[in-house]
Protein backbone atom coordinates (compact mmCIF):
# COMPACT_ATOMS: atom_id res chain seq x y z
CA UNK A 1 0.00 0.00 0.00
CA UNK A 2 1.57 3.28 -1.13
CA UNK A 3 0.98 6.34 0.95
CA UNK A 4 -0.09 9.09 -1.40
CA UNK A 5 -0.84 11.91 1.02
CA UNK A 6 0.97 12.14 4.31
CA UNK A 7 0.40 14.72 7.01
CA UNK A 8 2.76 15.13 9.91
CA UNK A 9 1.79 17.30 12.94
CA UNK A 10 -0.04 19.88 10.84
CA UNK A 11 -0.88 23.21 12.52
CA UNK A 12 -2.91 26.11 11.22
CA UNK A 13 -3.78 29.40 12.91
CA UNK A 14 -6.24 32.07 11.87
CA UNK A 15 -4.82 35.04 13.72
CA UNK A 16 -4.52 33.91 17.34
CA UNK A 17 -7.01 31.09 16.99
CA UNK A 18 -5.63 27.61 16.37
CA UNK A 19 -7.95 25.92 13.87
CA UNK A 20 -5.93 22.76 13.25
CA UNK A 21 -3.90 21.17 15.99
CA UNK A 22 -1.14 18.61 15.33
CA UNK A 23 -2.90 16.59 12.65
CA UNK A 24 -1.08 13.45 11.54
CA UNK A 25 -2.61 10.96 9.12
CA UNK A 26 -2.05 9.50 5.68
CA UNK A 27 -4.19 8.49 2.75
CA UNK A 28 -3.28 5.49 0.63
CA UNK A 29 -3.34 5.31 -3.13
CA UNK A 30 -6.74 4.41 -4.54
CA UNK A 31 -8.55 5.07 -1.28
CA UNK A 32 -11.88 6.86 -0.85
CA UNK A 33 -11.18 8.89 2.26
CA UNK A 34 -13.82 10.98 4.03
CA UNK A 35 -13.23 13.97 6.31
CA UNK A 36 -16.13 14.56 8.65
CA UNK A 37 -16.87 16.81 11.54
CA UNK A 38 -19.34 19.40 12.78
CA UNK A 39 -19.42 23.02 11.62
CA UNK A 40 -16.26 24.87 12.64
CA UNK A 41 -14.28 21.69 13.25
CA UNK A 42 -11.66 22.79 10.70
CA UNK A 43 -12.51 20.36 7.92
CA UNK A 44 -12.71 23.01 5.19
CA UNK A 45 -9.41 24.49 6.36
CA UNK A 46 -7.85 21.04 6.21
CA UNK A 47 -9.03 20.66 2.62
CA UNK A 48 -7.55 24.05 1.71
CA UNK A 49 -4.21 22.89 3.09
CA UNK A 50 -4.44 19.66 1.11
CA UNK A 51 -5.20 21.59 -2.08
CA UNK A 52 -1.96 23.53 -1.63
CA UNK A 53 -3.61 26.95 -1.75
CA UNK A 54 -3.22 27.67 1.95
CA UNK A 55 0.10 26.99 3.64
CA UNK A 56 0.25 25.26 7.03
CA UNK A 57 1.82 27.16 9.94
CA UNK A 58 3.61 24.08 11.16
CA UNK A 59 4.17 20.46 10.28
CA UNK A 60 4.69 18.66 7.01
CA UNK A 61 2.42 17.82 4.13
CA UNK A 62 3.71 15.49 1.44
CA UNK A 63 2.14 14.38 -1.81
CA UNK A 64 3.66 11.34 -3.52
CA UNK A 65 6.61 11.56 -1.18
CA UNK A 66 7.59 15.17 -1.83
CA UNK A 67 6.49 18.24 0.12
CA UNK A 68 3.47 19.93 -1.43
CA UNK A 69 5.17 23.33 -1.32
CA UNK A 70 7.77 22.04 -3.79
CA UNK A 71 5.24 21.66 -6.59
CA UNK A 72 4.56 24.55 -8.98
CA UNK A 73 0.91 25.48 -9.35
CA UNK A 74 0.62 23.77 -12.73
CA UNK A 75 2.47 20.63 -11.63
CA UNK A 76 0.18 20.38 -8.63
CA UNK A 77 -3.00 20.74 -10.69
CA UNK A 78 -1.92 17.91 -12.97
CA UNK A 79 -1.84 15.62 -9.92
CA UNK A 80 -4.60 17.06 -7.82
CA UNK A 81 -8.04 18.40 -8.77
CA UNK A 82 -10.60 20.08 -6.51
CA UNK A 83 -14.36 20.08 -6.83
CA UNK A 84 -15.79 22.96 -4.88
CA UNK A 85 -19.01 23.21 -2.96
CA UNK A 86 -20.28 26.24 -4.87
CA UNK A 87 -21.45 25.52 -8.39
CA UNK A 88 -19.67 27.45 -11.15
CA UNK A 89 -21.48 30.70 -11.98
CA UNK A 90 -23.87 30.68 -14.95
CA UNK A 91 -21.55 32.25 -17.53
CA UNK A 92 -22.29 32.04 -21.23
CA UNK A 93 -19.53 29.53 -21.91
CA UNK A 94 -20.64 26.24 -23.42
CA UNK A 95 -20.37 22.95 -21.52
CA UNK A 96 -17.53 21.78 -23.73
CA UNK A 97 -15.60 25.02 -23.31
CA UNK A 98 -15.76 24.72 -19.53
CA UNK A 99 -14.69 21.06 -19.48
CA UNK A 100 -11.83 22.00 -21.79
CA UNK A 101 -10.69 24.58 -19.23
CA UNK A 102 -9.67 21.59 -17.12
CA UNK A 103 -6.84 21.08 -19.60
CA UNK A 104 -5.24 24.37 -18.53
CA UNK A 105 -2.47 22.71 -16.48
CA UNK A 106 -1.35 20.85 -19.61
CA UNK A 107 -1.30 23.86 -21.93
CA UNK A 108 1.66 26.10 -22.68
CA UNK A 109 1.24 29.87 -22.88
CA UNK A 110 0.05 29.63 -26.48
CA UNK A 111 -2.72 27.27 -25.45
CA UNK A 112 -1.23 24.15 -27.05
CA UNK A 113 -1.99 20.98 -25.10
CA UNK A 114 0.73 18.45 -24.35
CA UNK A 115 -1.86 15.63 -24.37
CA UNK A 116 -4.67 14.53 -26.67
CA UNK A 117 -6.95 17.29 -25.44
CA UNK A 118 -9.93 16.74 -27.76
CA UNK A 119 -10.15 13.01 -27.13
CA UNK A 120 -9.85 13.44 -23.38
CA UNK A 121 -12.54 16.13 -23.27
CA UNK A 122 -14.89 14.08 -25.46
CA UNK A 123 -14.36 11.00 -23.30
CA UNK A 124 -15.19 13.01 -20.18
CA UNK A 125 -18.33 14.40 -21.80
CA UNK A 126 -19.46 10.87 -22.71
CA UNK A 127 -18.73 9.50 -19.28
CA UNK A 128 -20.77 12.21 -17.58
CA UNK A 129 -23.66 12.05 -20.05
CA UNK A 130 -22.90 15.60 -21.07
CA UNK A 131 -22.28 14.83 -24.74
CA UNK A 132 -25.69 16.04 -25.79
CA UNK A 133 -25.33 19.24 -23.83
CA UNK A 134 -21.86 20.04 -25.16
CA UNK A 135 -22.91 23.13 -27.09
CA UNK A 136 -25.42 24.34 -24.49
CA UNK A 137 -24.41 27.36 -22.41
CA UNK A 138 -24.05 27.16 -18.63
CA UNK A 139 -26.73 29.85 -18.32
CA UNK A 140 -29.31 27.31 -19.49
CA UNK A 141 -28.35 24.51 -17.09
CA UNK A 142 -29.72 23.70 -13.65
CA UNK A 143 -27.51 23.86 -10.57
CA UNK A 144 -27.13 20.07 -10.54
CA UNK A 145 -26.08 19.98 -14.18
CA UNK A 146 -23.58 22.78 -13.63
CA UNK A 147 -22.05 20.82 -10.76
CA UNK A 148 -21.70 17.87 -13.13
CA UNK A 149 -19.91 20.17 -15.59
CA UNK A 150 -17.58 21.27 -12.78
CA UNK A 151 -16.85 17.60 -12.09
CA UNK A 152 -16.13 17.17 -15.80
CA UNK A 153 -13.65 20.02 -15.65
CA UNK A 154 -11.90 18.29 -12.74
CA UNK A 155 -11.87 14.98 -14.67
CA UNK A 156 -10.26 16.66 -17.68
CA UNK A 157 -7.35 17.49 -15.37
CA UNK A 158 -6.66 13.72 -15.20
CA UNK A 159 -5.65 13.94 -11.56
CA UNK A 160 -4.46 11.09 -9.38
CA UNK A 161 -6.03 12.76 -6.35
CA UNK A 162 -9.49 14.32 -6.31
CA UNK A 163 -10.47 16.58 -3.43
CA UNK A 164 -14.18 17.09 -2.89
CA UNK A 165 -15.38 19.98 -0.75
CA UNK A 166 -18.92 19.07 0.32
CA UNK A 167 -19.83 18.55 -3.32
CA UNK A 168 -23.44 17.58 -2.64
CA UNK A 169 -24.42 20.56 -0.48
CA UNK A 170 -26.60 22.26 -3.05
CA UNK A 171 -27.93 19.11 -4.71
CA UNK A 172 -31.16 17.17 -4.19
CA UNK A 173 -30.90 13.48 -3.24
CA UNK A 174 -31.12 12.27 -6.85
CA UNK A 175 -28.20 14.41 -7.94
CA UNK A 176 -26.30 13.60 -4.71
CA UNK A 177 -26.30 9.88 -5.43
CA UNK A 178 -25.56 10.48 -9.11
CA UNK A 179 -22.57 12.66 -8.22
CA UNK A 180 -21.17 10.18 -5.68
CA UNK A 181 -21.70 7.23 -8.04
CA UNK A 182 -19.84 8.98 -10.86
CA UNK A 183 -16.95 9.80 -8.56
CA UNK A 184 -16.85 6.25 -7.17
CA UNK A 185 -16.89 4.67 -10.63
CA UNK A 186 -14.19 7.01 -11.84
CA UNK A 187 -12.11 6.31 -8.73
CA UNK A 188 -12.30 2.52 -9.30
CA UNK A 189 -11.60 2.76 -13.00
CA UNK A 190 -8.51 4.93 -12.72
CA UNK A 191 -7.28 3.82 -9.27
CA UNK A 192 -7.69 7.42 -8.21
CA UNK A 193 -7.50 8.64 -4.65
CA UNK A 194 -10.49 10.62 -3.39
CA UNK A 195 -10.43 12.81 -0.32
CA UNK A 196 -13.90 14.17 0.40
CA UNK A 197 -15.11 16.61 3.00
CA UNK A 198 -18.67 15.49 3.66
CA UNK A 199 -21.27 16.55 6.16
CA UNK A 200 -23.74 13.77 5.50
CA UNK A 201 -22.69 10.86 7.71
CA UNK A 202 -24.92 8.38 5.91
CA UNK A 203 -23.57 9.28 2.50
CA UNK A 204 -20.03 9.11 3.90
CA UNK A 205 -20.62 5.67 5.43
CA UNK A 206 -21.87 4.33 2.12
CA UNK A 207 -19.02 5.58 -0.06
CA UNK A 208 -15.89 5.98 2.07
CA UNK A 209 -13.30 3.24 2.65
CA UNK A 210 -11.98 5.10 5.65
CA UNK A 211 -12.99 8.29 7.40
CA UNK A 212 -11.45 10.87 9.68
CA UNK A 213 -13.54 12.51 12.35
CA UNK A 214 -12.47 16.03 13.24
CA UNK A 215 -13.54 17.95 16.33
CA UNK A 216 -12.31 21.42 17.32
CA UNK A 217 -9.26 21.11 15.08
CA UNK A 218 -8.10 17.73 16.40
CA UNK A 219 -8.55 14.18 15.19
CA UNK A 220 -11.10 12.23 17.22
CA UNK A 221 -10.85 9.06 15.22
CA UNK A 222 -9.69 7.48 11.98
CA UNK A 223 -11.15 4.24 10.73
CA UNK A 224 -13.72 2.43 8.65
CA UNK A 225 -17.35 3.61 8.76
CA UNK A 226 -18.14 0.63 11.00
CA UNK A 227 -15.55 1.78 13.52
CA UNK A 228 -16.48 5.45 13.53
CA UNK A 229 -20.24 5.66 13.10
CA UNK A 230 -21.11 4.78 16.68
CA UNK A 231 -23.67 6.49 18.84
CA UNK A 232 -21.34 7.48 21.66
CA UNK A 233 -18.64 8.95 19.41
CA UNK A 234 -21.18 10.86 17.31
CA UNK A 235 -22.75 12.27 20.46
CA UNK A 236 -19.40 13.43 21.78
CA UNK A 237 -18.53 15.23 18.54
CA UNK A 238 -21.88 16.47 17.25
CA UNK A 239 -23.69 16.93 20.56
CA UNK A 240 -26.67 14.80 19.63
CA UNK A 241 -27.10 11.08 20.11
CA UNK A 242 -28.41 9.31 17.02
CA UNK A 243 -29.86 5.84 16.56
CA UNK A 244 -27.41 3.74 14.59
CA UNK A 245 -28.98 1.11 12.37
CA UNK A 246 -27.63 -1.29 9.81
CA UNK A 247 -28.18 -0.55 6.14
CA UNK A 248 -30.45 -3.37 4.91
CA UNK A 249 -28.53 -3.77 1.63
CA UNK A 250 -24.90 -3.11 2.48
CA UNK A 251 -24.67 -3.90 6.16
CA UNK A 252 -23.07 -0.49 6.74
CA UNK A 253 -23.97 1.73 9.69
CA UNK A 254 -26.53 4.47 9.03
CA UNK A 255 -27.85 6.99 11.52
CA UNK A 256 -31.33 8.14 12.34
CA UNK A 257 -31.86 11.37 14.27
CA UNK A 258 -34.28 11.90 17.11
CA UNK A 259 -36.12 14.98 18.30
CA UNK A 260 -35.04 16.89 21.35
CA UNK A 261 -31.61 15.31 21.47
CA UNK A 262 -29.57 18.38 20.72
CA UNK A 263 -26.52 19.35 22.74
CA UNK A 264 -26.97 17.09 25.71
CA UNK A 265 -23.48 17.51 27.10
CA UNK A 266 -22.08 14.45 28.87
Amino acid sequence: MTLLLRMERLDKYYGERKVLDQLSFSVAEGEFFGILGPNGSGKSTLLKLLSGIVKPDGGELALNGSPIGGYTRKQLSRVLAVLQQEPIPPASFTVREVVEMGRYPYQNWLGDDSGASDEIVDAVLDQLNLAELRHIMLTELSGGERQRVALGKAMAQQPSVLLLDEPTTYLDIGYQIQMMDIVKAWQRERKMTVVAVLHDLNLAAMYCDRMLLLHKGSIVGIGTPGELVRGELIRRVYGTKPIVVEHPLYGLPQILLRQGGAHDEP
Partner: protein, 345 residues
Amino acid sequence: MSKRLGMWGGVGSVLLLLSIVVSVSMGTAYVPLSDTWPIVLHHVPFLGDLFHADWPISSEQIISKVRLPRVVLAALVGACLSLAGAGFQGALRNPLADPYTLGVASGAAVGAAFLILFGLQLAIAGRWSIPIVAFATGMTSLLIVLRLAGTGGKLQLETVILSGVVVQAFLGSIVSFMVTLSDQVVNEIIYWLMGSLSLRGWSYSGILVPYLLVGLFVLMANGRTLNLISLGERQAEHLGVHVARTRLVVLVVSTLITAAAVSVAGTIGFVGLVVPHLVRLMVGPDYRLIVPVSALLGAVYMIWADTLARMLLSPTEIPLGVITAFLGGPFFVYLLRKHKRRLRM
Protein backbone atom coordinates in the same frame (compact mmCIF):
# COMPACT_ATOMS: atom_id res chain seq x y z
CA MET B 1 -11.43 29.15 -31.84
CA SER B 2 -8.76 30.38 -34.31
CA LYS B 3 -11.42 30.16 -37.03
CA ARG B 4 -13.70 32.45 -35.06
CA LEU B 5 -10.80 34.78 -34.32
CA GLY B 6 -10.02 34.94 -38.02
CA MET B 7 -13.62 35.66 -38.89
CA TRP B 8 -14.11 38.42 -36.33
CA GLY B 9 -10.67 39.82 -37.02
CA GLY B 10 -11.51 39.97 -40.73
CA VAL B 11 -14.88 41.64 -40.13
CA GLY B 12 -13.28 44.13 -37.74
CA SER B 13 -10.41 44.98 -40.10
CA VAL B 14 -12.75 45.58 -43.05
CA LEU B 15 -14.95 47.75 -40.86
CA LEU B 16 -11.90 49.67 -39.68
CA LEU B 17 -10.59 50.30 -43.18
CA LEU B 18 -14.03 51.35 -44.37
CA SER B 19 -14.39 53.72 -41.42
CA ILE B 20 -10.99 55.30 -42.06
CA VAL B 21 -11.73 55.92 -45.74
CA VAL B 22 -15.25 57.27 -45.26
CA SER B 23 -14.31 59.38 -42.25
CA VAL B 24 -11.33 60.87 -44.10
CA SER B 25 -13.55 62.05 -46.95
CA MET B 26 -15.80 63.93 -44.52
CA GLY B 27 -14.97 67.50 -43.56
CA THR B 28 -15.35 71.12 -44.57
CA ALA B 29 -13.43 70.70 -47.81
CA TYR B 30 -15.08 68.07 -49.97
CA VAL B 31 -12.91 65.18 -51.17
CA PRO B 32 -14.83 62.53 -53.16
CA LEU B 33 -14.69 58.94 -51.91
CA SER B 34 -13.26 57.86 -55.25
CA ASP B 35 -10.14 59.86 -54.38
CA THR B 36 -9.88 58.95 -50.71
CA TRP B 37 -9.63 55.19 -51.35
CA PRO B 38 -6.41 55.34 -53.36
CA ILE B 39 -4.91 58.09 -51.20
CA VAL B 40 -5.42 56.08 -48.00
CA LEU B 41 -4.31 52.78 -49.52
CA HIS B 42 -1.30 54.61 -50.94
CA HIS B 43 -0.04 54.87 -47.36
CA VAL B 44 -0.28 51.15 -46.72
CA PRO B 45 3.13 49.50 -47.10
CA PHE B 46 3.49 47.12 -50.09
CA LEU B 47 0.09 48.15 -51.46
CA GLY B 48 1.20 51.73 -52.10
CA ASP B 49 2.94 51.09 -55.40
CA LEU B 50 -0.25 49.81 -56.96
CA PHE B 51 -1.80 53.28 -56.99
CA HIS B 52 -0.79 56.04 -59.35
CA ALA B 53 -1.05 59.56 -58.07
CA ASP B 54 -3.82 60.79 -60.37
CA TRP B 55 -5.65 62.78 -57.72
CA PRO B 56 -5.48 66.55 -57.04
CA ILE B 57 -2.52 67.65 -54.94
CA SER B 58 -4.82 69.66 -52.68
CA SER B 59 -6.80 66.54 -51.79
CA GLU B 60 -3.61 64.65 -51.07
CA GLN B 61 -2.47 67.51 -48.81
CA ILE B 62 -5.73 67.71 -46.87
CA ILE B 63 -5.92 63.97 -46.40
CA SER B 64 -2.32 63.08 -45.70
CA LYS B 65 -1.39 66.09 -43.59
CA VAL B 66 -4.61 66.89 -41.77
CA ARG B 67 -7.32 64.26 -41.75
CA LEU B 68 -5.49 60.96 -41.93
CA PRO B 69 -3.17 61.63 -38.97
CA ARG B 70 -6.18 62.53 -36.90
CA VAL B 71 -8.25 59.55 -37.94
CA VAL B 72 -5.35 57.17 -37.35
CA LEU B 73 -4.74 58.70 -33.94
CA ALA B 74 -8.44 58.34 -33.11
CA ALA B 75 -8.25 54.68 -34.10
CA LEU B 76 -5.17 54.12 -31.90
CA VAL B 77 -6.62 55.93 -28.89
CA GLY B 78 -9.90 54.04 -29.26
CA ALA B 79 -8.06 50.73 -29.50
CA CYS B 80 -5.95 51.52 -26.42
CA LEU B 81 -8.88 52.59 -24.24
CA SER B 82 -11.06 49.63 -25.27
CA LEU B 83 -8.22 47.21 -24.70
CA ALA B 84 -7.62 48.72 -21.26
CA GLY B 85 -11.35 48.50 -20.51
CA ALA B 86 -11.43 44.82 -21.43
CA GLY B 87 -8.37 44.24 -19.25
CA PHE B 88 -9.81 46.04 -16.23
CA GLN B 89 -13.14 44.22 -16.57
CA GLY B 90 -11.43 40.86 -16.80
CA ALA B 91 -8.93 41.33 -14.01
CA LEU B 92 -11.46 42.79 -11.56
CA ARG B 93 -14.39 40.61 -12.74
CA ASN B 94 -16.30 43.87 -12.82
CA PRO B 95 -18.49 44.69 -15.83
CA LEU B 96 -18.60 48.38 -14.89
CA ALA B 97 -14.83 48.90 -14.86
CA ASP B 98 -13.15 51.14 -17.43
CA PRO B 99 -10.16 53.51 -17.38
CA TYR B 100 -12.50 56.42 -16.68
CA THR B 101 -14.78 54.93 -14.00
CA LEU B 102 -11.75 53.54 -12.14
CA GLY B 103 -10.11 56.98 -11.98
CA VAL B 104 -7.05 55.69 -13.86
CA ALA B 105 -7.52 58.07 -16.79
CA SER B 106 -7.79 61.09 -14.50
CA GLY B 107 -4.80 59.93 -12.51
CA ALA B 108 -2.76 59.69 -15.69
CA ALA B 109 -4.04 63.12 -16.74
CA VAL B 110 -2.77 64.67 -13.50
CA GLY B 111 0.75 63.47 -14.18
CA ALA B 112 0.72 64.40 -17.85
CA ALA B 113 -0.84 67.81 -17.27
CA PHE B 114 1.66 68.58 -14.53
CA LEU B 115 4.61 67.97 -16.83
CA ILE B 116 3.13 69.85 -19.76
CA LEU B 117 1.84 72.88 -17.88
CA PHE B 118 5.11 73.40 -16.05
CA GLY B 119 7.23 72.80 -19.14
CA LEU B 120 8.86 69.57 -17.93
CA GLN B 121 7.82 67.46 -20.95
CA LEU B 122 11.33 66.30 -21.73
CA ALA B 123 12.75 66.52 -18.21
CA ILE B 124 12.94 62.90 -17.10
CA ALA B 125 13.18 60.52 -20.04
CA GLY B 126 12.99 62.59 -23.19
CA ARG B 127 9.87 62.10 -25.26
CA TRP B 128 8.79 59.16 -23.10
CA SER B 129 8.58 61.36 -19.98
CA ILE B 130 4.87 62.11 -20.26
CA PRO B 131 3.68 58.51 -20.72
CA ILE B 132 5.97 57.30 -17.93
CA VAL B 133 4.81 59.90 -15.41
CA ALA B 134 1.20 59.44 -16.53
CA PHE B 135 1.61 55.71 -15.91
CA ALA B 136 3.00 56.30 -12.43
CA THR B 137 0.19 58.63 -11.40
CA GLY B 138 -2.43 56.43 -13.09
CA MET B 139 -1.19 53.36 -11.24
CA THR B 140 -1.15 55.29 -7.96
CA SER B 141 -4.76 56.34 -8.37
CA LEU B 142 -5.78 52.78 -9.27
CA LEU B 143 -4.15 51.50 -6.08
CA ILE B 144 -5.89 54.21 -4.07
CA VAL B 145 -9.25 53.31 -5.61
CA LEU B 146 -8.80 49.59 -4.93
CA ARG B 147 -7.63 50.36 -1.40
CA LEU B 148 -10.66 52.54 -0.74
CA ALA B 149 -13.01 49.90 -2.10
CA GLY B 150 -11.48 46.85 -0.44
CA THR B 151 -13.01 45.46 2.70
CA GLY B 152 -11.24 42.43 4.09
CA GLY B 153 -9.71 41.46 0.77
CA LYS B 154 -13.06 41.47 -1.03
CA LEU B 155 -13.94 43.98 -3.72
CA GLN B 156 -17.58 44.91 -3.95
CA LEU B 157 -18.57 45.70 -7.50
CA GLU B 158 -20.37 48.98 -6.92
CA THR B 159 -17.98 50.17 -4.22
CA VAL B 160 -15.07 49.98 -6.64
CA ILE B 161 -16.91 52.19 -9.10
CA LEU B 162 -18.08 54.55 -6.36
CA SER B 163 -14.55 55.13 -5.11
CA GLY B 164 -13.36 55.33 -8.71
CA VAL B 165 -15.78 58.11 -9.47
CA VAL B 166 -14.89 59.99 -6.30
CA VAL B 167 -11.17 59.77 -7.02
CA GLN B 168 -11.83 60.72 -10.64
CA ALA B 169 -13.72 63.87 -9.60
CA PHE B 170 -11.01 64.85 -7.15
CA LEU B 171 -8.19 64.34 -9.63
CA GLY B 172 -10.15 66.16 -12.33
CA SER B 173 -10.30 69.22 -10.14
CA ILE B 174 -6.55 69.02 -9.56
CA VAL B 175 -6.07 69.10 -13.32
CA SER B 176 -8.44 72.09 -13.64
CA PHE B 177 -6.57 73.86 -10.88
CA MET B 178 -3.22 73.32 -12.56
CA VAL B 179 -4.57 74.54 -15.86
CA THR B 180 -6.02 77.63 -14.18
CA LEU B 181 -2.52 78.48 -12.94
CA SER B 182 -1.15 78.40 -16.47
CA ASP B 183 -1.59 80.91 -19.30
CA GLN B 184 -3.66 79.21 -21.95
CA VAL B 185 -6.61 78.43 -19.77
CA VAL B 186 -9.74 77.64 -21.72
CA ASN B 187 -8.56 75.40 -24.53
CA GLU B 188 -6.25 73.38 -22.36
CA ILE B 189 -8.88 72.62 -19.75
CA ILE B 190 -11.19 71.32 -22.41
CA TYR B 191 -8.36 69.28 -23.81
CA TRP B 192 -7.45 67.60 -20.52
CA LEU B 193 -10.88 67.11 -19.05
CA MET B 194 -12.87 66.21 -22.12
CA GLY B 195 -10.25 64.94 -24.51
CA SER B 196 -9.48 66.04 -28.01
CA LEU B 197 -7.65 64.79 -31.07
CA SER B 198 -7.44 68.05 -32.99
CA LEU B 199 -4.14 69.45 -34.31
CA ARG B 200 -2.14 66.29 -33.62
CA GLY B 201 0.45 65.23 -36.18
CA TRP B 202 1.79 61.81 -37.07
CA SER B 203 4.35 61.80 -34.25
CA TYR B 204 1.64 61.24 -31.64
CA SER B 205 0.52 58.06 -33.38
CA GLY B 206 4.14 56.92 -33.31
CA ILE B 207 4.19 57.21 -29.52
CA LEU B 208 1.04 55.10 -29.13
CA VAL B 209 1.88 52.19 -31.43
CA PRO B 210 4.41 50.40 -29.19
CA TYR B 211 2.12 50.65 -26.15
CA LEU B 212 -0.79 49.29 -28.14
CA LEU B 213 1.24 46.37 -29.47
CA VAL B 214 2.66 45.45 -26.07
CA GLY B 215 -0.78 45.75 -24.48
CA LEU B 216 -2.42 43.63 -27.16
CA PHE B 217 0.24 40.97 -26.86
CA VAL B 218 0.17 40.71 -23.06
CA LEU B 219 -3.62 40.76 -22.77
CA MET B 220 -4.06 38.19 -25.54
CA ALA B 221 -1.49 35.93 -23.89
CA ASN B 222 -3.56 36.18 -20.70
CA GLY B 223 -6.89 35.54 -22.45
CA ARG B 224 -7.25 31.92 -21.34
CA THR B 225 -6.31 32.84 -17.78
CA LEU B 226 -8.89 35.63 -17.71
CA ASN B 227 -11.50 33.11 -18.89
CA LEU B 228 -10.68 30.86 -15.95
CA ILE B 229 -10.77 33.77 -13.50
CA SER B 230 -14.19 34.79 -14.85
CA LEU B 231 -15.57 31.51 -13.43
CA GLY B 232 -14.25 32.27 -9.93
CA GLU B 233 -10.86 32.92 -8.38
CA ARG B 234 -10.77 29.81 -6.18
CA GLN B 235 -11.42 27.32 -8.95
CA ALA B 236 -8.93 29.15 -11.18
CA GLU B 237 -6.27 28.62 -8.52
CA HIS B 238 -7.14 24.94 -8.39
CA LEU B 239 -6.41 24.75 -12.10
CA GLY B 240 -2.93 26.14 -11.57
CA VAL B 241 -3.55 29.83 -12.28
CA HIS B 242 -1.58 32.40 -10.30
CA VAL B 243 -4.61 34.64 -9.82
CA ALA B 244 -2.87 37.45 -7.94
CA ARG B 245 0.01 37.55 -10.40
CA THR B 246 -2.24 37.50 -13.48
CA ARG B 247 -4.36 40.22 -11.98
CA LEU B 248 -1.35 42.41 -11.28
CA VAL B 249 0.08 41.96 -14.78
CA VAL B 250 -3.24 42.73 -16.46
CA LEU B 251 -3.92 45.77 -14.26
CA VAL B 252 -0.44 47.18 -14.83
CA VAL B 253 -0.60 46.71 -18.59
CA SER B 254 -4.12 48.16 -18.82
CA THR B 255 -2.97 51.17 -16.82
CA LEU B 256 0.06 51.54 -19.07
CA ILE B 257 -1.97 51.71 -22.27
CA THR B 258 -4.48 54.02 -20.61
CA ALA B 259 -1.63 56.34 -19.63
CA ALA B 260 -0.30 56.36 -23.18
CA ALA B 261 -3.72 57.20 -24.63
CA VAL B 262 -4.35 59.91 -22.03
CA SER B 263 -0.96 61.55 -22.63
CA VAL B 264 -1.84 62.19 -26.27
CA ALA B 265 -5.59 62.73 -26.12
CA GLY B 266 -6.64 63.72 -22.59
CA THR B 267 -9.38 61.92 -20.67
CA ILE B 268 -12.02 60.43 -22.94
CA GLY B 269 -14.61 58.59 -20.89
CA PHE B 270 -16.69 55.43 -21.22
CA VAL B 271 -15.03 54.07 -24.39
CA GLY B 272 -13.48 51.21 -22.47
CA LEU B 273 -16.86 50.48 -20.95
CA VAL B 274 -19.03 50.52 -24.05
CA VAL B 275 -16.83 48.74 -26.57
CA PRO B 276 -15.89 45.53 -24.67
CA HIS B 277 -19.55 45.13 -23.74
CA LEU B 278 -20.79 45.38 -27.29
CA VAL B 279 -18.03 42.98 -28.27
CA ARG B 280 -19.09 40.56 -25.53
CA LEU B 281 -22.63 40.60 -26.89
CA MET B 282 -21.28 39.70 -30.32
CA VAL B 283 -18.52 37.17 -29.65
CA GLY B 284 -19.43 35.74 -26.22
CA PRO B 285 -17.48 35.60 -22.96
CA ASP B 286 -14.15 34.29 -24.33
CA TYR B 287 -11.37 36.80 -23.60
CA ARG B 288 -9.19 35.32 -26.33
CA LEU B 289 -11.73 36.89 -28.71
CA ILE B 290 -12.89 39.84 -26.61
CA VAL B 291 -9.40 41.35 -26.34
CA PRO B 292 -8.42 41.60 -30.04
CA VAL B 293 -11.94 42.36 -31.28
CA SER B 294 -12.28 45.12 -28.66
CA ALA B 295 -9.12 46.73 -29.98
CA LEU B 296 -10.43 46.69 -33.56
CA LEU B 297 -13.95 47.85 -32.78
CA GLY B 298 -12.65 50.39 -30.26
CA ALA B 299 -10.73 51.95 -33.13
CA VAL B 300 -13.87 52.03 -35.28
CA TYR B 301 -15.96 53.43 -32.44
CA MET B 302 -13.50 56.23 -31.75
CA ILE B 303 -13.16 57.17 -35.42
CA TRP B 304 -16.91 57.74 -35.61
CA ALA B 305 -17.09 59.52 -32.26
CA ASP B 306 -14.36 61.88 -33.42
CA THR B 307 -16.03 62.36 -36.82
CA LEU B 308 -19.21 63.35 -34.99
CA ALA B 309 -17.16 65.67 -32.78
CA ARG B 310 -15.77 67.59 -35.73
CA MET B 311 -18.77 67.41 -38.08
CA LEU B 312 -21.85 67.94 -35.93
CA LEU B 313 -21.46 71.70 -35.31
CA SER B 314 -18.80 72.29 -37.95
CA PRO B 315 -16.74 74.47 -38.01
CA THR B 316 -17.02 74.49 -34.17
CA GLU B 317 -15.63 71.31 -32.63
CA ILE B 318 -17.40 69.49 -29.83
CA PRO B 319 -14.94 68.06 -27.29
CA LEU B 320 -14.55 64.35 -27.96
CA GLY B 321 -15.18 63.43 -24.33
CA VAL B 322 -18.58 65.09 -24.56
CA ILE B 323 -19.57 62.84 -27.45
CA THR B 324 -18.33 59.65 -25.75
CA ALA B 325 -20.10 60.64 -22.53
CA PHE B 326 -23.34 61.29 -24.42
CA LEU B 327 -23.09 57.78 -25.79
CA GLY B 328 -21.51 56.09 -22.78
CA GLY B 329 -23.41 57.62 -19.85
CA PRO B 330 -26.80 56.12 -20.73
CA PHE B 331 -25.05 52.84 -21.53
CA PHE B 332 -23.51 52.82 -18.04
CA VAL B 333 -26.96 53.33 -16.51
CA TYR B 334 -28.31 50.46 -18.60
CA LEU B 335 -25.51 48.14 -17.42
CA LEU B 336 -26.00 49.14 -13.81
CA ARG B 337 -29.72 48.39 -13.98
CA LYS B 338 -29.15 45.11 -15.76
CA HIS B 339 -26.64 44.10 -13.15
CA LYS B 340 -28.93 45.05 -10.26
CA ARG B 341 -31.73 42.97 -11.74
CA ARG B 342 -29.42 39.99 -11.88
CA LEU B 343 -28.43 40.46 -8.23
CA ARG B 344 -32.05 40.50 -7.13
CA MET B 345 -32.82 37.23 -8.86
